[in-house]
Symmetry: none
Subunit: 220 residues, 4 copies
DNA sequence: AATGAATGAGGATTCATTCAT
DNA sequence: TATGAATGAATCCTCATTCAT
């Protein structure tokens, strides 16, 4: 077609920079997966469905993820990162003067993320997931446990002989509390969560540093 | 075999009564499934494999079970029944004079069954199971919680305002402790279990009936 | 239990004579099959479903029928017998003074049976049946054709050189008319049937015996 | 083939363009299905057999067809298209000066295709097919009826009050004639077909446009 | 005659993943 | 990098039918 020489027709496609597109697609795929999981459950999730729902060719999914497991894992990781951020933010916002406050603030931070991320509840809390997510969950909990333990010791809330395993146990038990609380509905059973907070607190107070009377504190 | 000559030889086939055979086959299938689960994991379990391993035609499996899920469920149920029996037996064998003893005896009973039933660990504890098993686990835990609660109140160990939800929470948390303890190996992390016992005990002692000093008791 | 000697306790079961029971069961099975076919279509029909719906053990079905096909065949036969009876009755009730009357009476008799027997429509008319029923349908139509041909010739309505194949063709074409008419609903398209009657009549009048003016006759 | 030395040899694999391959495979599958149907009947047809016979992986069959039914439907459609073409061609080749010629030419065109396509006879004519094919047959006949009706009216052979339903009835009845004629053998009963032609002609002449004496025409 | 139980023999379909381009 | 097309490998489950009693 002899077009006017002066009008160089710009190719209509590709106005989006490479890397940007890639990032966006990963997000799209993750979002799609999240939606599908919430709607139809983990077991019904197929790579094709994810791809179609994300408007991405199936084969391209494998450009960004090595595996179906990998998609789930990435999804869980994204949410867990949000979890960490929320915990950090909330802890920074209050005066953590006791183990009780530490536990309460942390666990409530978790709950707020679960509320924001129903897919996370489905994938992670409701448990019927794949091995990769499960393992990552364990590791993540271990990391959280370590962070909180360091925080507590540094803040003089816990004795420095607080075993790492105790911290892990506390976090994992907290997890189960959430599991139970979100079993029935995506809203979560608030009372159960509070009871769980009490349990974890009671447990950790065995390792509380001696100091200002912590036990008389009021729950807000 | 020098049988008495006068004894008319019973026809060679079918010496096993009908119903007996049926029962045996169900057991065989369950045993086969258990073996396969331990060896290759829950996800790799197929109906065909179960049937072949049990020496039963695939189609016959469907005579006894409605579904693959149903097989898993039956397996879990069988083991949970054993669990209940073990708990009952062990509680009967000791003087349950405190919440601590109650918790300790019960949780150790659980552990002994997990040791005996590795498939149960795989199917039930390691969690990534099907919905049916999951649900049944919840119900079972609720039943256990109720039984133990009644026991504790009747024995004067717990105040009768011990909420059912607290009992359930305690049992479920115990479950998670086992989950963690058996995560890595089928032997179970003994120390973790003991720590878990401590946690659950500490939690339940909030509802302990006033009486002889329970807290000073030694762990045997 | 030492019952009074004079009161011979009649065994509670089996008050129904053998053969009677057998006959009843065959009817039950046929009725059940008919129901299932109407409700779920021919393809979804299974022996087990028939048996269950009839309250008869599956294995017993094979006491009365050699085959699943055989059940369908029996069902079709039962209805076709009713068809024959209806045709005979209706023809006996009117003055068959012309080919037109013969065709009209016969085809309307068919329609009335189709109305009474929706399963027959499903199995036979809607065509997607098994071979046995199909064959029986052909034979039955051949028999009907022969009967009607004999009737027509004897009654002086048709010349005796009316070919058998023409009679068969007429009946089969009638069949297709019904097929079309009952395609959409179990009520049947009345107008289509009338048009079909016209067609068959027109065709057969080619072989009509000379005599009283047939063509001017009014349709009631 | 002595190619110019300078011509770099094209890589050995994939000389067939994408889309071309796809088209070919669909044809292969259809041909295979046709063969199998003729050899073993419609009921014995399995997707695996089709795929194997076509030298195509089973999974690939599902790339081109949604379903087993879909394969059958495609097969029927392919043949019906050929049917239409044949009718059009044959009608174009003769001087259609009467309804009789129209009917005769059309029906004979059908017969010639049935002769060429035995699988079509098996699938379509012998009737015990799936719903999809059945429905498509009805629609196809309706389309043919409409086309022929328009043709007849435009050519001045039929009055323009020829009801559509009459045209449909005529085509459907023709169908049944073919069904009967091809019931026994794939050759088709020629006499029966001719008789059917006579019947359909007689029926349609009721709607013939007044004009040159049509009825006296000779059958070639 | 009656039947609960048993089973051989598939069969349709799915899906994660990989190429060739 | 991107992708339409291709596929190997399974899997669950069904069903007509037959025995043993």
């Amino acid at each position: 077609m002899p077009a006017a020489a002066a009008t160089p027709t710009t190719p209509p496609k590709r106005r989006v920079p490479r890397q940007e597109r890639s990032r966006r697609r990963v997000e799209d795929l993750l979002d799609a997966a999240a939606r599908l999981v919430v709607d139809h459950g983990v077991e019904a999730l197929t790579t094709r469905d994810i791809a179609v729902a994300a408007g991405v060719p199936v084969a391209s999914l494998y450009q960004y993820f090595s595996d179906k497991e990998d998609v789930m894992l990435a999804l869980a990781q994204r949410d867990m990162a949000e979890m960490d951020a929320q915990v950090a933010e909330d802890l920074a916002a209050v005066d953590v003067h006791s183990v009780a406050v530490l536990v309460r603030t942390t666990m409530r931070a978790f709950v707020s993320v679960y509320h924001r991320r129903p897919a996370f509840v489905e994938i992670y809390l409701r448990g019927r997931t794949n091995l990769a997510v499960h393992r990552f969950g364990r590791e993540h909990n271990a990391r959280i446990a370590e962070t909180l333990r360091a925080f507590a010791i540094e803040a003089g809330l816990a004795r420095d002989d607080l075993p790492r395993s105790a911290a892990v146990l506390a976090v994992e038990v907290g997890d189960r509390v959430f599991q139970l609380a979100f079993e029935e509905s995506l809203d979560g059973d608030q009372e159960l969560v509070e009871e769980g907070i009490a349990m974890v607190t009671a447990y950790l107070e065995r390792y509380a540093a001696p100091g200002p009377d912590l036990t008389t504190e009021e729950t807000p």
